[in-house]
Symmetry: C3
Subunit: 331 residues, 3 copies
Amino acid sequence: MRERLYHVLESQQFDRELLDHLCALTTRFREVGKTTEGALAMKRRHVGKRAALYFTQVSTRTLNSFRAACQVLGMDWLEISDPNTSSEVKGESPIDSVATFASYADAIIMRSKLPGLAKQAAEYFDRERPFRPWHTAHVVNGGSGQDQHPTQALLDIYTLYRAFRERGGIEGKTIAMVGDLKRGRTVRSLAYLMRHYPDVRLIFVSPPAFQMEEDIKAFLQKHNIPFEETEDLDAAVNVADAVYMTRVQDDLDKEKGATPIFFQERHLKILGPHAIVMHPLPRREELDPACDHDPRIKIWRQERNGMWMRAAVLDYLLKENDPLEGMREVA
Amino acid sequence: MRERLYHVLESQQFDRELLDHLCALTTRFREVGKTTEGALAMKRRHVGKRAALYFTQVSTRTLNSFRAACQVLGMDWLEISDPNTSSEVKGESPIDSVATFASYADAIIMRSKLPGLAKQAAEYFDRERPFRPWHTAHVVNGGSGQDQHPTQALLDIYTLYRAFRERGGIEGKTIAMVGDLKRGRTVRSLAYLMRHYPDVRLIFVSPPAFQMEEDIKAFLQKHNIPFEETEDLDAAVNVADAVYMTRVQDDLDKEKGATPIFFQERHLKILGPHAIVMHPLPRREELDPACDHDPRIKIWRQERNGMWMRAAVLDYLLKENDPLEGMREVA
Amino acid sequence: MRERLYHVLESQQFDRELLDHLCALTTRFREVGKTTEGALAMKRRHVGKRAALYFTQVSTRTLNSFRAACQVLGMDWLEISDPNTSSEVKGESPIDSVATFASYADAIIMRSKLPGLAKQAAEYFDRERPFRPWHTAHVVNGGSGQDQHPTQALLDIYTLYRAFRERGGIEGKTIAMVGDLKRGRTVRSLAYLMRHYPDVRLIFVSPPAFQMEEDIKAFLQKHNIPFEETEDLDAAVNVADAVYMTRVQDDLDKEKGATPIFFQERHLKILGPHAIVMHPLPRREELDPACDHDPRIKIWRQERNGMWMRAAVLDYLLKENDPLEGMREVA
């Protein structure tokens, strides 16, 4: 059997087997959590274990999503959620700060402004573990700086997986990614995962100044994943199975003269009957709230999937035995 | 049977039956909570349910009171307690921010600087629920902006209810409200509830510049609740069954030349032997701490009632069956 | 039998019997906590009890350590961790603020910038308890201002106790305290406790401007505890059983021209084979991280002991019966 992941740092770590496994586990948790009895059973899965939520870069929604995931699994958690309260300000090295915090924890979820700190911490723990056997924290990248945001990519995959589960799965689907593709961490992470789903076709819809970066395009070419680039949202909506909207990063963007690419009520008419629209939230004007009642707009389901997928990831890392063992497969 | 309240937004929503019901439930919780066994039983009442504490307007004591209420009921909770960490700063609409946060929650307790946001959120959830069946959060106004502070009014009612339970209840009592009545949310909310207790008489004691507003006075007149206005605290203390002190809002008030109206040790001598003194806290000089040892000063009991009443409110909202069912009535 | 401590305010409160008791309890908790079964049993010890973490002076690591201690014991907790969110800003007296917060709590852990507030609160509660029987909070000084940091001293004692348990205990050992001894709260608190361990010898290693204060030296002389003062770290390391490094307080120190006294890899060669090195963390350059792999460097074990010792302290305060009763002694 394949080796288990010890840390979750970037989406390149996932293969198809693990993606399918985590999706099945997420579905199982959602199902079990519907009854009080099931929710209580899940709350016994990791009682006595403890997560350390190291959020020196603030992200209220990701933090709350991980808190909720801990609650689902019955885990305790500690947190650092204010950059100014961190011991870093006392001249401590970031690694000492992380190691201190992790010394009470079974897993540390990290979101820091320091580039690469999650990876650096994982390497540090791997190196130190032989010397301090109780220092066993699994590192989960909670979306650090310019790094990836792998648990966001996983919940996006899960949202696609659920939407297409009765239509042959993600394979063969056309996925439009829309907005600021240049800096959007979520679409970059998601693009990496597309190689695990045969015959997927990508449409990148963005103003010229915000096109997908060359590294991703090179990656796609290497793995023979077809993609096209356009500014024409209507054309993309017309053919896509999934439209993944992303947020315009800040007001500066508008000043740069980029023509805004907004999904509006009129697009619902040209969107395919089985197609879906996603957005990692928060949104600005790029996705009109007037669309929210349409069942093809999956943004609120996607948001809630975050809690379940993060619970699945923590469960996978912390459970020594196969997490699905003894649980009926329902995917 | 009457329809259950789905959201708790303002004190006008409560009728006498519901007030009595919540008071009885609060007493029951207090009684049961005295033993370890009882406390554990209560902690099983809502295990697996989750509250979202949305406090973008900071209020440490109300926040802690709701946290404690969740603990009493065995509920999990998430929180946003720093206005600067809210996603609102990223250009997200407040309703999106609230909806995101509530997507993991069974109830959302809201305290925002934005006027009317709690009510707006309740309307939004009512409208959206048919489209997103898991989005079922009950909204509780936690004291937003210039809005009301209904759970404070409820704990005040409970404090009066307990104090007068062997003296015929709140009905027929004389209640003096003292201090800044113009801007004091608590006295305004409490005044609205007085219509449910026959023969109550109110005395408003304040400097002329801080008199009760016309809307409340019109309301009282409409419901034939007698009230008088005065600056004479001594006279009011002399006849009142309850003296409700409120905080001078800020130092500016003093500069406005208002004669301060302070409850001091000498007032204990003219206070009736069965009368009580209340204060929503925090206090400044308007209620001398030297009075605290007198058993008629109920401020610390009132404070602690906050936890029990808030637990009762959450229990009422979240329990499908009658919350008192199977519990011996002890009120 | 001796009277139990009600509040934990300063290290002078502890005698040898209590130190040994708390060390034994800490060891017992560590042992029991190693199995899931044991961890669950501990989580039932104080379920339904509640701590109030009053940290208006920010200390992320002490706060997290107390949070973890509450989790170990199955306690709920409330917290005030931002000085700006405190009600103190509304003109409330600090004691009112503390009393409000403590009104829901069985214990209040305090770290405030106001000198002596923990002690003041303890006196207040002792005085008020007859009048408000539910206001029973035990006060624990969590390291306030210039005050002591007694739970840090306890975890330091525990670290020494464990290190020397098979070599005759702390008695008779030579302990070097290094760094800014003038302002270092931890070394001051620890020095007080040395009187309970016969034949201990102290070496104070510091630049002249940062020598141990006269009050401590007078205390040591009074109790016939030999000490010497030096700037020679090498000589101290050569003879010490324990080297207690402390942090240089801020960059200003360097400007004062103090020769830095740093523990570096070369010191490992002259450190005795059974000697240990401690540090309360956070550290700067005074203890080279390259040393961390050496098993004599106990700083990470010391850090983790904080959680267990704090759990032991809370358990001691809150458990009416002898906390070790029914638990096999394993110290």
